[in-house]
């Protein structure tokens, strides 16, 4: 890695010309967007990610053996939901050798697993394979954390 280079996609390093006015404009924009969403629409249904329509069209349920581990994934409606915080498992139910692998969704549409919180993957299957890579010989717990 070359020292001092900014990460891809984050623009040049150095002082930024973000003015207070720009920030205020952004704040107002977000506030207006939030204001026009009826409160009822936010209650009683799963959060729907803007990229879900695209993902739904291309990504199906999966089942495979990867590095000797049995991976399964099915679009879920939150059967693995961690209800105490309203977290919805990225709306996928994924298992490795029958044990639940909790997935999280990132705002860019990618997926993280509870085994690896820092590397995100474009699909639930890729996230499950990444988790297997990190698991080595270990078994997931019978019940997810």
């Amino acid at each position: 890695m070359e020292a001092g280079n900014p990460p891809v996609g984050l623009g040049p390093a150095g002082r930024r010309l973000v003015t207070r006015r720009t920030v205020v404009r952004r704040l107002i924009g977000v506030a207006l967007a939030a204001a026009v969403v009826p409160a009822a629409a936010l209650v009683g249904r799963a959060f729907r990610h803007p990229q879900d329509d695209l993902k739904d069209a291309v990504g199906g349920d999966f089942e495979e053996t990867y590095r000797g581990r049995h991976i399964r994934g099915a679009r879920g409606q939150g059967s693995m939901m961690r209800a105490h915080i309203g977290q919805r498992s990225g709306r996928w139910d994924v298992t490795v050798d029958g044990r639940p692998l909790h997935l999280m969704r990132r705002a860019d549409g990618s997926y993280l697993s509870m085994v690896d919180h820092y590397q995100s993957y474009p699909t639930p299957l890729a996230a499950a394979r990444g988790a297997v890579d990190e698991l080595g010989d270990q078994m997931l717990r019978r019940h997810a954390l």
Binding site: G4, P6, P7, A31, F47, A107, Y118, Q119, L140, R142
Partner: protein, 283 residues
């Protein structure tokens, strides 16, 4: 008022006291409560619900309060200890004294990543993992990910975050391209090793438990976060004219906590977390 020291400056006696207090907190069952709390509050910004601990502006105040809670538990055992910080731009070696036999112990072995030395090795009998992602009861580390090597963040990479005089920016999550918070937390749209920065990159470098939901199981978690906390203080001093926390007001439909809103689970406001000089200082 007490002082948090650089871990490299601790005497052998100070290390011993710190480790003893830590093991006592573990014995009492309190340590695993901190592990569970961190698991519960790790929420993805693409899932529903409010996020406070990660991928959110409150990444810094949330972990500041989390550190204070943990430090309180340590100090109820021994009022003379505090959480040391690890400057990973300086102490970058797997053989640093940080990983010594009398402190945090060393790397995991290659076969199963099990930590074999120091007070937190499974064989010591003091540190069984109760709240892990896997069934394994032993602490694991995988320094530098040997199968696909990665370094700790450099001074230049940290400087890239410190150069941003804006605290945070919309959309206030892991995709915010402007702002100190996301650059220090370390989410980028980069590929390969450049996708990890600063705080996140440290979790990745240590590996094993530090990589996943149960990262608090590795005591180095606190050393990393004490340094991150110190960096927030330094940033605040460097940019006295910048808002020390954003967003200041109503935004993001309740999914992030603004300056004067109560932050779960402690109900403290970010505005009350900005100054810490009355509680502790960094040496």
């Amino acid at each position: 008022m007490y002082t948090r020291q650089n871990q490299s400056s601790l005497t052998a006696a100070q290390k011993k006291r710190f480790v003893s207090a830590l093991l006592a907190v573990k014995r009492k069952g309190q340590y695993d409560e901190f592990v569970r709390m961190h698991v519960a509050f790790y929420v993805g910004d693409g899932d529903g619900g409010q996020r406070v601990a990660h991928m959110a502006p409150t990444f810094l105040p949330w972990h500041r309060q989390f550190l204070l809670e943990f430090e309180g538990a340590l100090q109820r055992v021994d009022p003379g200890v505090s959480v040391p910080y690890w400057d990973w731009t300086v102490d970058r070696s797997p053989t640093s004294s940080l990983w010594g036999e009398g402190f945090l112990g060393g790397n995991g072995r290659r076969s199963d990543r099990r930590v074999m030395t120091g007070p937190f090795a499974y064989g010591s009998g003091h540190w069984p993992i109760k709240e892990g992602v896997t069934e394994g009861e032993f602490l694991t580390r995988d320094f530098g990910r040997p199968h696909d090597p990665i370094e700790l963040p450099t001074k230049d990479e940290l400087a890239w975050a410190m150069r941003d005089s804006l605290y945070d920016s919309a959309p206030w999550n892991s995709t915010s391209s402007h702002g100190f918070r996301n650059k220090l937390e370390g989410w980028t749209s980069g590929v390969g090793n450049s996708k990890f920065r600063n705080h996140n990159q440290v979790h990745r470098w240590v590996g094993g438990h530090m990589l996943g939901a149960g990262s608090v199981n590795d005591p180095v978690f606190w050393f990393n976060h004490a340094f991150v906390d110190l960096l927030w203080s330094r940033w605040h001093r460097k940019y006295p004219d910048s808002a020390p926390y954003l967003p200041a007001g109503g935004t993001a439909a309740g999914r992030v906590v603004t300056l004067d809103e109560p932050m779960p689970p402690w109900k403290v406001k970010p505005s009350s977390m900005i100054e810490h000089g009355h509680l502790y200082r960094y040496a």
